[in-house]
């Protein structure tokens, strides 16, 4: 059987349902016989709701943060140049970024991409786009 001090230290996790079963059973057994701790539990539940309300009032993270991360990590192209011809289905693309290698080029023939230079040690997959 746990005492009031032990029970009151565990009440926040009891209120959020994050206690291991054995601890939760100990707290529940203590609450049955202790009105002071039942009152304390009511305070904890109220506090949890109030903190949730306060947190939800904060605005969400802005979309531009992802762009800044991509730029800082050198994953966002600084410039893109496309040189091509629709008539023969040929397109040469050159992009520069702060990542290594700083310049990448690719060739499209009849819509099919043929990478011609990307000697990166890390081989990134497709670009996820700018905005989350």
């Amino acid at each position: 059987m746990i005492d009031c001090n032990e029970a009151q230290e565990l009440l926040p996790w009891y209120a959020t349902g994050r206690l291991p079963t054995r601890d939760a059973e100990d707290v529940a057994a203590h609450l049955l016989s202790c009105s002071a701790c039942r009152n304390e539990l009511a305070d904890v539940v109220w506090l949890r709701q109030a903190i949730g309300a306060a947190e939800r009032d904060n605005p969400p993270v802005r979309g531009q943060v992802w762009r800044r991360i991509m730029t800082s990590a050198g994953l966002r192209p600084i410039a893109d140049i496309d040189i091509g011809s629709l008539l023969v289905g040929l397109r040469l693309g050159v992009s520069a970024s702060r990542a290594r290698p700083p310049v990448r080029a690719s060739l499209h023939v009849l819509g099919r991409r043929v990478r011609i230079a990307n000697p990166s040690r890390r081989k990134p997959n497709s670009d996820p786009g700018e905005e989350p």
Binding site: Q8, E9, L10, P12, W13, T16, G17, R18, L19, D43, V44, L47, R48, A50, I51, G52, A53, A54, E55, R56, D57, N58, P59, P60, V61, R62, V65, W66, R68, I69, S72, A73, L75, S120, R122, K123, P124, N125, S126, D127, P128, G129, P132
Partner: protein, 168 residues
């Protein structure tokens, strides 16, 4: 949907799509935790940015000894403290836009609690946030804060008392 573990392995290999997915999954949580520490929206965004850059660079160091979210929140905590130290030394200029009241702060209970939280120490605020808002277990919250479980329990007990006192 890929697991957190699969995502971080892909990020360690330089997979940008996985990095984006990881960001979408964890950004809001990291941002809100950072905000509870620094009380400034733009500064919290800087914490998020530095945290995700650290995740991109250090993904290969994640050993899976804890949940990925616990590891990321731990990085965010370190980044928040580092930014605050730089700001205290005058190495960076505080962004005053972040200390303006949010237009959304119109719900009375939310405003009252935010004012009360602001009076608490950062140690008390982060413990309250991780347990009551993020609903982390004792072990996970203690791991993020880098303290023994007993320390977290007593810290949270005193944080609750301090917040109740401010709200009276």
């Amino acid at each position: 949907m890929r697991s957190d573990e699969a995502l971080i392995c892909a990020v360690a290999r330089g997979d940008r799509t996985a990095f984006h997915e990881l960001y979408q999954r964890h950004a809001e949580r990291v941002y809100r935790f950072a905000r509870s520490l620094v009380w400034n929206g733009p500064l919290a965004e800087e914490v998020l940015q530095e945290t995700m850059l650290a995740v991109w660079k250090q993904a290969g160091r994640f050993r899976g000894n804890s949940k990925l979210s616990t590891w990321i929140l731990g990085i965010a905590r370190n980044q928040a403290h580092a930014l605050q130290r730089r700001e205290a030394r005058g190495a960076r200029t505080p962004d005053i836009a972040g200390v303006e009241p949010d237009p959304s702060e119109t719900v009375e209970i939310g405003v009252r609690v935010q004012r009360a939280l602001r009076q608490l120490s950062a140690e008390h605020r982060e413990a309250l946030h991780l347990v009551f808002f993020d609903e982390l277990s004792v072990a996970d919250a203690a791991a993020v804060l880098g303290v023994p479980e007993g320390t977290l329990k007593s810290r949270l007990f005193y944080a609750r008392k301090a917040l109740s006192k401010e709200l009276r």
